[in-house]
């Protein structure tokens, strides 16, 4: 079976002044088309390196990254990226910011069609009426919504989200989780989400991958059957609590703070 994203036996080390620093060692990850893979792991374990590999911004020392049955060797216009820092361009309006990728990708929409596409996405995330504003006039959560629109505007195969909600307050973050589900229902995409938030991981992901401490390998994979209309209430069920418990335990193992045994079954 082929997946939309396939990462096979990836190893990578950075050159530093004190010799090579291995960050990834034996990373395995597969995401089906339309899948949402949340990746969690201790700080500095190489999660951002993972996003750069999938985006084709760098190549691994060993192993392979496949997208859509093609090995990733260089950047491809078929990915969309959103970071913790929304990196909107202050000299452009929100609308023009969202349209930016269309100016770059080959065969991207032009002119009126491009503008309509951007307006449609902005309305989808609740930013209608803010098209002509400057990024600095928006709140952090709104900026992140605009950044999400920009990542989606050229209909990428893969959405790479590197802690996009990490700098937001808890309520705004939960709002954006809901928005993600709403957007995905209208604009289906395949996503890799890097996050530190376990609740975020189980709320958004249909697959949660726990990476070990550096050098990171795939330590644990949790599959979550996704219901049709997720609600925040889902986070307060015994089922969710058990998932969080398992993930917390896995993170403790990854941090080297717990012995490598299965978590005790919840009573």
């Amino acid at each position: 079976m082929t997946h939309l994203i396939d990462i096979k036996g990836v190893r990578h080390a950075y050159d530093t002044a004190s010799g090579p620093l291995p960050v990834l060692d034996g990373l395995e990850l597969s995401v089906d088309e339309g899948g949402f893979c949340a990746v969690v792991g201790p700080s500095g374990c190489g999660k951002s390196t993972l996003t750069r590999l999938v985006a084709g911004l760098m190549r691994p020392d060993h192993g392979e990254v496949w997208l859509h049955g093609q090995q990733v060797k260089s950047p491809r216009a078929t990915v969309g990226m959103a970071f913790q820092n929304p990196v909107l361009l202050e000299w452009r309006t929100i609308l023009k910011n969202v349209m930016l990728p269309l100016e770059i990708v080959p065969g991207g929409l032009r002119g009126k069609a491009a503008e309509e596409r951007a307006r449609y996405l902005l309305a989808l995330v609740g930013l209608d009426g803010f098209e002509e504003k400057r990024p600095s006039e928006l709140s952090g959560g709104m900026r992140q919504r605009a950044s999400l629109c920009r990542a989606l505007v050229h209909k990428p195969d893969v959405l790479i989200l590197d802690e996009p909600f990490g700098a937001l307050d808890a309520f705004t973050r939960e709002d954006l989780w809901q928005t993600m589900h709403e957007v995905k229902a209208q604009e289906p995409f395949t996503a890799i989400l890097i996050t530190h938030d376990l609740r975020e991981a189980i709320f958004l992901g249909d697959q949660v991958v726990v990476l070990s401490g550096r050098p990171a390998r795939t330590q644990h994979v949790m599959t979550i059957a996704r219901q049709t209309a997720p609600s925040l209430d889902d986070l307060y069920t015994p089922e969710a609590a058990e998932r969080l418990n398992i993930l917390r335990h896995e993170i403790e193992i990854a941090q080297g703070r717990a012995p490598q045994t299965a978590p005790e079954a919840t009573a």
């Binding site: 750069r52 084709g56 950047p75 216009a77 820092n85 000299w91 930016l100 770059i104 990708v105």
Partner: protein
Amino acid sequence: MTGTLRKIAVPALAMLIFLALWEALVWINGWPNYKMASPSDLWPAYVRYWELFLVMGWQTLWRTVLGLLLAIVVGVGIGMVMGFSRTMRDALYPLLVGFNAIPKATVVPIVALMFVGAHDFNTVLIAFMISFFPIAVSVSIGLSTLEPEYRDILRALGASQATIFWKIALPKTLPEFFGALKVAVTLAFIGTNLMEIVSPHGRGLGALFDSGKTNSDYPLMFAVLIALAALGILLYYIVVALERVFAGWAERQPG
């Protein structure tokens, strides 16, 4: 008071107060005009030499502007090389700092000897030499401090280096560039006048200043200084206007 009126009235009033204080200072101390000319001494000088002021002022202005344009071209060029390449940055910084640390007054006689008689060229050259440094530094810093995410957003879409430069690096550096240009404008005037005062060709406001000195026409000397200040203010506000057009987005709304 409306916004525009305020913008003109406040600095105009400040200038009037400055002139009044200056006049008072001279009057209270009873200084003769060879010690310090007062504003009321300047007016007769302008009336008497207005033609010279126009001709010499134009000489100074065009050479300064030319030197400044040269400084922009070369400064942006060097800034780009240093902004994009770490190696070039490491290589060029000490050289640039060293070059900038040399007082340009000492360079003037060297240049004057090197290109004897090429007065216009020499003046433009000194104006350029004194003013390109802040431009080069600001552009290099603007480019080298571009957050990697900005680059990645476009690189991940397969954008070329040139596209990244035009779409992101260049506009993002514009506020720093204009900041440096404001400094460079005033520096360029210093450069032009250094050459005009030292060099014996008798052109430019610097030469007019020098002739005031030789003829013991002290009010003329002060009148030249004020004329230079006026030209400096003029060029500065032209840069401010350009900044508003090209980098107006960087100006935050107050409040």
